[in-house]
Each structure stands twice: as structure tokens, then as C-alpha cells.
């Protein structure tokens, strides 16, 4: 199935992309996708960043499962205001 991944701020810079489409197996969890991404992006793994996740603009935990067409976002702790 296809999902969309977005990355923001320091995570975006570490991953080297702000948005991409990925083809993944049905029922995959957020953490599996993150593991796959950080494997190919050495700098991200080295930083040992705290990561936050959202699916379709709602916060989720890293064991949340993804469905076809979902928008997964990965980002560092927020610092707005």
C-alpha cells in the first residue's frame, strides 16, 4: 500500500526530505517505517533524536498501524509560541 511521509524541522534536515511517498506492506507500524528510514539516513540515527509522530494530523504513538493513503508525519518536540 502507499503512504505519504512528511518530516519537519531538524528531522526534515536529518532525513533529507520534507515529503515522500512510500510503498509499504499492509498493517505496518510507525516504528517499523522509522527504523527503515533511519537505517538509510545515518545522520538521523546518530543524533538519537526524540521523535514525535502523527497520522493524518493527529498525534500517535510509534506502535500505531498505518492504512492505505495515510499521511504519517515525523518531527522533533515542538517549539512554537
Amino acid at each position: 500500500m502507499k503512504i505519504k511521509i512528511k518530516a519537519f524541522a531538524s528531522v526534515r534536515e536529518a532525513f533529507g526530505f520534507d515529503e515522500k511517498e512510500l510503498t509499504v506492506s499492509e498493517g505496518i507500524a510507525v516504528k517499523d517505517i522509522v527504523r527503515q528510514i533511519t537505517k538509510s539516513y545515518q545522520p538521523a540515527r546518530d543524533r538519537e533524536m526524540t521523535l514525535l509522530y502523527s497520522i493524518n494530523e493527529e498525534y500517535c504513538q510509534d506502535d500505531a498501524l498505518l492504512s492505505e493513503g495515510d499521511r504519517l508525519a515525523i518531527f522533533p518536540p515542538v517549539s512554537g509560541g
Binding site: A9, S10, T50, S54, E58, F75, P77, V78, G80, G81
Partner: protein, 162 residues
């Protein structure tokens, strides 16, 4: 509820909500342009309101001992608006606000400029004070916006609360 001073700039966002049913007004705006602070604060509140409390968050010239030249805000727009709406609806219901506006900037924000303005009106002051405090604290905790400080010798993302 579109207000005159927001027509020119920004991105007024509203949808039917529990708060609207009680005749409360909620405005959530994410914008790249400078915030017209006076206009937002001045237009918040009705004749039934005895109190308007506001918070202006501004970009400081120094941060943890370093001189900041400028600040860049990155936002996950769709999610930030959803989160802001949720936070303001909760505050409006909890403290019976009659009117509440939150405007947050993104992109480059100069030193001394407002990055966020929150204004809340209520018949009595205690509610407005508590609501504004809750909103800014929750915004800093939950809304997907990140700032990057630029110094003379580099830049740095601020992750989480300072």
C-alpha cells in the same frame, strides 16, 4: 467569524464547533505576514465582556547567552491549525469565553516582532487569565511549529521547550 482587521492578511479559519453553538467566537490564524497586534486585541470582546487578557510572544534578541539575529518558524500547517482549533475550543468551553483569537506566524520573524498573539474575552477576569495561560502553555507543548535561531556564526533548531 471574519474580522475586518484580518481580511487583508492571514488565513482565517473557522468551522462549526461546540463553542460556536454557544455564540462564542473563535479565530485561528497562521500567517507569514507581521501580526497586527493592536487590531487583534482591540477587536476581541463584546459589550458583555469585562475582561480581555492578551499574550504577545515576541522574538528575543538573546537566547541562552547567544545573540539572535533572526528567527525562522516552520509549521506543519494542516495539523497546527487542527491542534490550535482544538486547544481554543477546549479553553472556550472550560472558561466560558465569549471571544478568542490566536494568531501564529511562520517563516522569518524579526527580533522584537510578535510570533504569537492570543486574546481572550470573558465577562469576568479570572476566566480570561486562566484561558490565555492554558492556551500559550498548550501551544508550546502540542502545536507542530518549530523555531530555528540564526546567529552570526550559524543557526540552531530549538527542539522542545527551552
Amino acid at each position: 467569524m471574519m474580522r475586518s482587521c484580518q481580511k487583508a492578511t492571514g488565513w482565517p479559519y473557522s468551522r462549526p464547533s461546540a463553542a460556536d453553538k454557544r455564540n462564542s467566537m473563535i479565530s485561528i490564524v497562521l500567517q507569514q505576514e507581521a501580526i497586527d497586534t493592536s487590531c487583534i486585541i482591540g477587536e476581541t470582546g463584546t459589550d458583555a465582556d469585562g475582561a480581555v487578557v492578551s499574550f504577545i510572544g515576541r522574538v528575543r534578541s538573546s537566547s541562552r547567552g547567544k545573540t539572535v539575529l533572526t528567527m525562522e518558524y516552520e509549521t506543519y500547517g494542516e495539523m497546527a491549525r487542527k491542534q490550535l482549533q482544538k486547544i481554543v475550543e477546549e479553553a472556550t468551553a472550560r472558561w466560558s469565553l465569549t471571544d478568542c483569537t490566536v494568531v501564529h506566524r511562520y517563516g522569518s520573524v524579526a527580533i522584537g516582532e510578535a510570533s504569537i498573539v492570543i486574546a481572550a474575552a470573558s465577562p469576568h477576569r479570572d476566566e480570561a487569565f486562566q484561558a490565555v495561560r492554558f492556551i500559550i502553555d498548550t501551544v508550546k507543548d502540542k502545536v507542530p511549529i518549530w523555531k530555528k535561531e540564526f546567529y552570526s556564526d550559524g543557526s540552531s533548531w530549538i527542539n522542545g521547550k527551552e
